[in-house]
Amino acid sequence: MLHEMAIDRRSVEGGARSQVALGATYEGRDPSLLECMLPLVDYIEVTLETIAEVKDGKIALSEEVMEEIRDIGDAAQIIVHGVGLSIGSHEGWSPTYLDLLDDFTEQVDVAWHSEHLGYTKVDGEHLGIMLAMPKTEEALTMVCERVNAIQDRYRMPFLLENIVHVIPDFPGDYNDAGFLNALTERTGCGLILDVYNLECDAHNHGFDVQAFLQELNKECVRELHVACGVEHNGFLLDVHSQLTRSSTVALAQQVVRQSPNAEVVIYEFMPEAVPGLGYDAIAAQLARLRDAFTG
């Protein structure tokens, strides 16, 4: 079980747990950043699409970045977080992504892997953004079949993440929590709860986060994401360009207390944000999160 790996990091006080491990995204080609993060994190989250490059007309993992990741060794556990599987595309997922995952898992020990519950392409045409699934029975059946196939293919835990709703929600058969509950019940997969995405949905669409959390089966939550983007025209955008807000950390702390199997909180930021944020600010952010979540 996933939670057995980090059980020694936790403290249980009156049944409410407040401590989990800490992780951060790393997308390669910035060894100074990795050096400043490693003493502060327990997990490094790798997104395969961002460490891939085109070689002889084919998309493949960057050897340079793979060497960096292999060199992490025991300094942190590695988890893989995809953005390009497109598990919800009507025509099927991206085989290119799974080829990369095959290659990666042959070279590196991975604690678990995950994807977003959504789709990024339609008939091979890329949306340029990720859209949430319509929460219908038909969509649920389709996604469950694919989750089961992935779990059969990779003998390691697989998690799905709630994504931000960038367009109005389709009036389906389930609400958000009900869809996730049915998905985890039918497949046994775990969940990543991105609490910044919940905040975006609350800000942009009046989403009731507390009602969602009340209904969600939080035993399935294994990982949390915290991040921060920018506000534009009154919309909170899911771009990982900023340091986290205190409200995001507070919400993540609440979810951790309520989720008995949560393992890790990951601070997500994109490599393009690093020059603007600076190494010192990122390290200070991780130190604050470490205080907030690891005690």
Binding site: L127, I129, V166, F170
Partner: protein, 178 residues
């Protein structure tokens, strides 16, 4: 509900290639007129900005200096099937900008594309024609500084190849024309 049809219509709305009409269901009509759709498109734009600012720096900075960035990027997003694999985005963008109607933008994009290919192991040799002296322009773009007002005109060529120091050399074919 037909998932395929649903997703195809949303793709069309996001890419501005589909106009919702009376025959569409209420949901598609609602999305088509929503402010959320505009913001989703803005979100896509911002992600492209973040990636290309890093991976196509010279061309990006020149477009920005000429106030052509928004138009160029919007056109690129609308017309191209942009992969989520980030490292594929800059070559596609630079290829598109290589035929820009502004000769300097085209020349900078051709140079930057050739240089990125050679730095990734391409053994080819490339020659890019310029009609202004490239040193000052490239220096300004690399440092994101204002462009020189009166860059000397002439006929120049930038050779790009793996076996050159720094992988490129500027050659003056016909010096400044008065």
């Amino acid at each position: 509900m037909d998932i395929a049809a649903h997703q195809r219509k949303l793709l069309g709305l996001i890419r501005s290639t589909y106009q919702a009409g009376d025959s569409d269901d209420a949901y598609i009509q609602r999305v088509a007129t929503s402010k959320d759709l505009e913001e989703a498109q803005r979100n896509i734009f911002l992600w492209r900005i973040y990636v290309l600012e890093r991976t196509a720096r010279l061309t990006f900075n020149l477009l920005k200096r000429r106030n052509l960035l928004e138009a160029a990027l919007s056109s690129f997003i609308e017309r191209h099937n942009i992969s989520p694999f980030r490292e594929t985005q800059a070559p596609a963008f630079l290829e598109e900008m290589s035929s820009h109607s502004d000769g300097l933008i085209a020349a900078v994009a051709q140079f930057e594309l050739a240089l990125s290919k050679v730095r990734e192991g391409d053994m080819g040799r490339y020659a890019v024609q310029w009609n202004v002296e490239p040193h000052g322009i490239l220096n300004s773009l690399a440092k994101d500084l204002p462009l020189e007002e009166d860059a000397p005109e002439g006929i120049y060529q930038i050779l790009v190849s793996y076996d050159l120091p720094h992988q490129f050399r500027i050659v003056t074919l016909l010096p400044e024309v008065h």
